[in-house]
């Protein structure tokens, strides 16, 4: 009961996670289905990622097979990582977290399992259509129309389950994770409809504008709020310490709700789109610093006095490095929207460096930390190997840093060359070869991280380590 009072009074999550709380009430069938399948896609799509990176070095590698050409594997990589791995893992974590924050069981596990099944059908459908080249021609909106409709249905199913769980909650106060989760459900619905349905009704610049509103907000109003929902839950939870400030988390939330949606046109700076719209997008992009710094300050202040845990708590390592990457990527974003910086980095390899730091460095790190925390609890056994988990962290971190840093430096240099028209274009391609080589090997390291992570989780799920401790106290440590 004590923990509930803390929750209701201070807007904190219960700090003493006891086995009783985690183990008996919740079935977690839906959470398991989402999380395990998402990790499967993480691994498979990781292989695709390596193929894509290899094609920059050896362009004719697998090049005579239409299905394996760059232009088909790249969307498979992007959609597979975003929707097959990251969003599905995030949804799985929500199926785990939300009932616990509400003090009730998930509204319906059956409905949840049906959602997981539908989600898997969508992902498999996406793999087939993208390899076949059935591509709608919009970035992030590649999937054919039927699958778009299925995504909407699945999202409504997910949202219903979440909102019904919140509606029947026992604790009156809603912890900030619930806010971000509900925001994600609502905004995603409209952002997705804009990008995948409304965009089909118009053409040209008008369509591009809707497309960029969607692309930008797929990151800003889907992956950001759901990623923050996860960070806000797991940072205090894994460090076993209360959140620094509920109020500050609200400031972050409402400024995010207001600011993000204005910025889509910054994807077309200097391009054929109205100047005034570009200026609005720039102003609001800079204002993004507010929600970002509010969240990051809150996370760091929460960790005050707990930094020693960085030494051997693997989920914390992922979470805190994720926060640092979040801070960096969200500093870069507003900076690129300044016209002078944009003139150099836009359309270069800097941009994939930036995008990967957001969805891999920040949001995937949060999701991985969440998986390491919840999977042992859902399957009621200890993690198969702590050492392997630690390996996965270092592989991800070193691979990730190698990837980001070389692409920024390389991309900046590339943009510099492009701005000097006396350098023939092909020379700027040849000059980037060393950058792409480092990128490929960084990718190999990250894939090692994925493999270690996936193996560890799978081994935990099937109980490969034998039935060690199922004792609550040990599990919750």
């Amino acid at each position: 009961m004590a923990e509930r009072t803390t929750l209701a009074d201070a807007g904190e999550i219960p700090v003493t996670s006891t086995a009783k709380y985690t183990e008996s009430v919740h079935e977690d069938a839906t959470a398991r289905a989402f999380i395990l399948s998402s990790i499967g896609y993480f691994f498979i799509v990781g292989i695709v990622a390596l193929l894509v990176a290899a094609k920059f070095l050896w362009p004719s590698f697998l090049g005579t097979i239409p299905m394996l050409t760059y232009g088909r594997l790249r969307p498979l990589h992007v959609n597979g990582m975003l929707f097959g791995w990251l969003l599905a893992a995030d949804m799985g974590l929500m199926y785990y977290v939300v009932p616990r924050l509400c003090g009730v069981k998930l509204w319906s596990e059956k409905f949840g399992l049906a959602t997981a099944a539908l989600w898997n059908v969508i992902i498999l459908g996406a793999v087939v259509s993208l390899l076949m080249g059935w591509n709608q021609g919009f970035e992030y909106g590649e999937l054919p129309f039927v699958l778009d409709v299925a995504v909407v249905v699945a999202w409504i199913m997910f949202g219903t389950n979440m909102f019904m769980t919140v509606a029947t909650r026992k604790y009156q106060q809603m912890y900030v994770t619930l806010w971000y989760m509900m925001g994600t459900v609502l905004w995603t619905a409209f952002v997705y409809l804009t990008g995948n349905f409304a965009a089909l009704l118009v053409t040209g610049v008008n369509q591009a504008n809707l497309n960029w509103m969607y692309v930008h907000n797929a990151v800003g109003l889907i992956f950001t709020p759901i990623g923050l929902a996860i960070a806000y839950y797991f940072i205090p939870k894994t460090a076993n310490t209360p959140l620094h400030s509920h109020k500050l988390s609200m400031v972050g939330f409402w400024s995010l709700a207001f600011v993000y949606v204005w910025t889509g046109a910054h994807h077309m700076l200097h391009g054929p789109i109205s100047q005034w719209l570009q200026t609005i997008a720039i102003v609001f992009s800079v204002m993004l610093l507010i929600p970002v710094w509010a969240a990051v300050y809150n996370f760091f202040a929460t960790m005050r006095g707990q930094w020693h845990q960085m030494r051997d708590n693997v989920p914390i390592k992922f979470l805190i490095s994720g926060v640092v990457f979040y801070l960096l990527t969200c500093f870069q974003g507003p900076m690129h929207s300044l016209r002078s910086v944009n003139a150099i980095v836009s359309k270069t390899d800097w941009i994939p460096g930036h995008a990967h730091m957001a969805v891999l460095g920040a949001f995937s790190f949060f999701a991985i930390a969440g998986c390491y925390y919840v999977v042992p609890r859902m399957f009621k056994r200890e993690l198969y190997s702590d050492a392997l988990a630690n390996w996965s962290f270092w592989l991800f971190l070193i691979g990730g840093l190698g990837f980001f840093v070389t692409l920024w430096l390389g991309g900046f240099w590339q943009g510099w060359q492009w701005n000097n028209p006396s350098i023939p274009f092909i020379d700027t391609v040849v000059n980037l070869q060393p950058v792409w080589l480092v990128r490929f090997f960084s990718g190999v390291l990250m894939f090692g991280g994925i493999a270690a992570f996936a193996y560890n989780i799978l081994a935990t799920a099937i109980g490969a380590g034998g039935e060690k401790a199922t004792d609550g106290a040990a599990v919750a440590a």
């Binding site: 969307p75 509900m182 204005w262």
Partner: protein, 189 residues
């Protein structure tokens, strides 16, 4: 009061949606209403106002070519916009003449739009008329044969299929040609 709203899921839903829709509507619905050039095809017959010309709808063949461009993901490596950046107008220029900057009215018939975000290869917004069909087909077969060091993937299945390569080339030749800007014509003359 604030505390109460803080605990209410209904107040939350209303707040989150209202804030979202302010920015959402002002940046998506309003701009095309304010800015006519987003939906009016380019047309100019007065040389003092810049390049002359007229944007024509795509033919059946060009649309087939466009579909191939979408299918093969050419747009992941090529942008189609000459931006308001000096180097862009030089790079897509021709024999010392800078290419005109892209304007919204040149893209009215584009669906899906192909502006692109990444330049692994050069911008194609003014490539129409730069090369002849023979060049393009040879290039599709193996780009590095024509441009050593190229990392554009080979597309032998397009080069080997006369219908496909004809359509794709027909589409590429339309790019940027609503504006009549090349000094003494192009390869065709």
């Amino acid at each position: 009061m604030l505390r109460k709203a803080d605990n209410s899921a209904v107040a939350f839903v209303i707040g989150a949606l209202v804030l979202f829709f302010i920015g959402g509507i002002l940046t998506t619905v309003v701009p095309p209403l304010v800015d006519a050039s987003w939906s009016k095809p380019f047309e100019n017959s007065d040389p003092t106002k810049g390049p002359t010309g007229k944007l024509k709808p795509y033919t059946e063949l060009e649309l087939q070519g466009r579909a191939i461009y979408v299918r093969e993901g050419c747009w992941y490596c090529h942008t189609q916009q000459t931006r308001t950046i000096l180097a862009d107008t030089k790079r897509s220029g021709w024999r010392g003449v800078d290419s005109p900057v892209s304007t919204p009215d040149e893209f009215v018939y584009d669906n899906p739009h192909m502006f692109g975000t990444k330049r692994t290869g050069p911008d194609l917004s003014r490539v129409g008329g730069k090369y002849d069909e023979q060049w393009h087909v040879t290039h599709f077969r193996n780009p590095a044969d024509l441009v050593p060091g190229s990392i554009m993937p080979p597309f032998p299945w397009i080069a080997a299929d006369p219908a496909e390569s004809k359509a794709l080339v027909a589409y590429l030749q339309t790019l940027g040609r609503a504006k009549d800007w090349r000094p003494d014509g192009d390869f065709e003359k």
